[in-house]
Subunit: 153 residues, 2 copies
């Protein structure tokens, strides 16, 4: 259940992907990267800060934002909407997939792209539309999930 930061696992792989993307692998960037790439929880910046702080108590929220924005810019991370549509969450899964949001808990999870088949009828759309991506979010309930982790306003 506890996630924590896996500082010593794959450190080299993470360092390399940062370098590959043209990002200097500073200590705080490594700590942030280690967390976001070892969770499937689609954390907010605040949540990233709370986790990273455990390993790296001096990290500032500004650095967390700077770093996450940098990762997004370099294509290592994707921004996704929070269920409340008022804050941003970060998704380290940059391969095509869909999202499911449990409306009772607010939890967002990835869905295999196999669960939906999308067939665009471009003739109906008109040639003036150049589509870069299609974002799909399913909303509903995931049954059998205990609601002990519910965090709602």
């Amino acid at each position: 259940m506890e996630q924590g930061i896996i500082i010593n696992r794959n450190t080299k792989a993470i360092r390399d992907s940062l370098k590959n993307a043209g990002i200097q692998p500073s200590a705080s960037r490594m700590a942030i990267a280690s967390f976001v790439w070892n969770t499937d929880s689609h954390p907010t910046a605040e949540e990233v800060k709370i986790e990273v702080e455990k390993a790296f108590p001096t990290v500032s929220l500004a650095t967390v934002y700077n770093t996450l924005n940098l990762f997004v810019e370099k294509g290592l991370l994707k921004e996704v909407q929070d269920s409340n549509q008022r804050s941003v969450r970060y998704d380290c899964n940059t391969t095509p997939h869909f999202h499911f949001i449990d409306e009772a808990t607010g939890q967002m999870m990835d869905l295999d792209p196999e669960v939906l088949r999308i067939s665009p009828d471009l003739s109906k759309l008109g040639a003036e539309f150049k589509i870069r991506e299609i974002e799909v979010t399913l909303r509903g309930r995931k049954m059998g999930t205990p609601q002990d982790k519910v965090k709602q306003k």
Copy 2:
């Protein structure tokens, strides 16, 4: 091009839909409803205020928010994400449809549900998922749109 509020058109129809939804049709609610139901621009609360103010100079931003939230609660309006993911837009089209966001202008427009066919493979999803809605947003460019209306940060 100018939108404005069409106070005298459909006033009765609007009054009736408010009443139907159990909402007292006060003057400010009527003005807000008249605007949001006569535009396809998916306005933000701020944009609603600016328009409604023209007909109703004393309306407060708090009332705009109260009213829009009330309309959402009663199912007359839907919240949708702004392209910047930091503010909320309101969509008076409550029938099934998709959205297209022009990434150069930020403009959101409705798409006919015919342009995409979505076939969920529920067997792949698992019975514990109860889907209430599927939200689909296409992002890209709409060519041939002059960028004179671009409003970006």
